[in-house]
């Protein structure tokens, strides 16, 4: 009985470790990919394409967008962090692609390339020059625990990105909350 319970606990823990990695799949070229097809019943492709453009312009204001006949793509990076005491330990480059059809859109994030960071003489974390590691080769070149962390953070980042994209696809550009909310006045003379 004890052995069975121990096995159950071990399986549960390993399931947690692999959960984020499982957010990524492998495409036909054996590259890691985060791929989603999202149904948007009743919404025309033109409208979805316009919303995808708004998303891209809001999210990547300083990055050149690649417009294709079927969609939009962009290349960018996000920071990765150490687990115990949080500070930057690298950056992950990626490519985001969005394509639209009547009633649905798809997006995928791929071409993950990791650049480790090192602490420089001024106490800042900066990229290690010339060390670019594709996520596919990360387990050959980096320590296992670190690689698990990068997979976890990449999966989480892609999910966040997908959630934000969906919000734009449904609502268009989200309305900014009014900044100058009138302050409620209280009359203290009468009480």
């Amino acid at each position: 009985m004890k052995k069975i319970l121990l096995i159950i606990v071990s399986l549960a823990i390993s399931g947690m470790v692999n959960a984020q990695k499982s957010l990524l799949s492998v495409d036909e070229n054996n590259k890691y990919i985060y791929y989603q097809v999202v149904d948007m019943p009743g919404i025309k492709a033109d409208s979805l394409h316009k919303n995808a453009g708004l998303f891209m312009m809001d999210m990547y204001p300083k990055v050149t967008l690649q417009m294709t006949r079927s969609g939009i793509s962009v290349k960018d990076k996000f920071l990765t962090y150490t687990s115990l005491i949080k500070h930057e330990n690298g950056e992950m480059a990626y490519t985001l692609n969005v394509e639209c059809k009547d009633g649905k859109y798809r997006f995928w994030v791929t071409n993950f390339v990791f650049t480790p960071y090192e602490k420089d003489r001024y106490g800042m974390f900066v990229p290690v020059n010339g060390k670019d590691i594709s996520l596919e080769k990360a387990s050959d070149k980096l320590q296992k625990k670190d690689v698990e962390g990068y997979f976890e953070q990449t999966g989480a980042f892609c999910k966040q990105l997908g959630d934000k994209l969906k919000k734009y696809m449904i609502e268009g550009k989200p309305k900014q909350p009014k900044e100058d909310k009138p302050v409620k006045k209280i009359v203290t003379e009468k009480w």
Binding site: L5, F78, K86, L96, D120, Y122, G123, E152, Q153, A156
Partner: protein
Amino acid sequence: MKRILLLLSLFVIAVTSVKAATPTAVADTGKVGTGADPKDPPLILSGSVDTYWKYDFSGHSNIPTSFATDQNSVSIGMIDLGLKKKVGKASFVGELAFGPRGQYQSIPNGDGSTGNGANSFHIQNLYVSYDVTDKLNFTAGYMATFIGYEVISPTGNFNYSTSYLFTSGPFQNAGFKATYAFSDKVSLMAGIFNDNWNVYTSQHDVSTFGAQLMVAPVKGWTAYLNVASGPTSGTILDLTTAYQITDAFKLGLNGATYTPAHGGGGYDGVALYPQLAVSKTVTFGLRGEYFETKAIGTTVPSANVKALTATANIKAGAITLIPEVRFDNAKNQIFTNSDGVPTKSANQFLIAAVYAF
């Protein structure tokens, strides 16, 4: 007992299932990429601790390395604690160090005033910085020097013992500097610094001019051409460059020439740093250095020393083990052998452990 174990199992499964289904939130400092909400990064803490054992084959300390000085002793380097915070375009860095490496071996005691000479301020870096534009940055305070290849922090060096060039050059320069990035491949820093190197307070004025031209001609190759010159501190010209030629092989080079402001002398030197990664946890490296002190008039002749250091970096999680053997050979008899007799050569072995967080 079985019930307790069963309940414990169910609890673990429940917790892990919930955690697995909820992706880790990814913070984004806005420094890299734009694909997430730009937020002010939190106060970030990082640092290191290091310890070592060294044995000089003469039986006593011989080689004048800045750190790893103690003979046949399990000794401490330092605990280094760095804090940084950025809000909008403004940021600060404060880096404190405790231990021989982080106090009297690398920073001044006190501020030079009478009665304060025994106090260590523990400050390695203390500066504020402001991004005027995406390309222009202003920084002021007490900063690690921009000169040279090696640094004070053990996490920033491959070898644990230090070169003659490092020991002889500046450690910190306090002052104000402006850095302009023309592109990812070219940037220029120019600044005005305190009259002396390695001081919290200037002796007379802020009169050392410093500049650094950074070029990155190809992917993986970065070169820094540095100059610091002043009527009190003298003039140092320095070239520091590193090229990650393949995934496994990196080559570094440091060359410098220094002329004091008064009295003659100074030094020239060059050091080469080839490193080869043989696995994801083990890297071997060499440091070959030639260092020459300049003659002072006709009274003190020129002298030189050649040093070869073979080092391995073995990574085990956050710990790096650093076994190292070093052979120094001088023109003159500047070392002593086991009998205390002057000799031209000295050899030492050390093993260090560095934990970075």
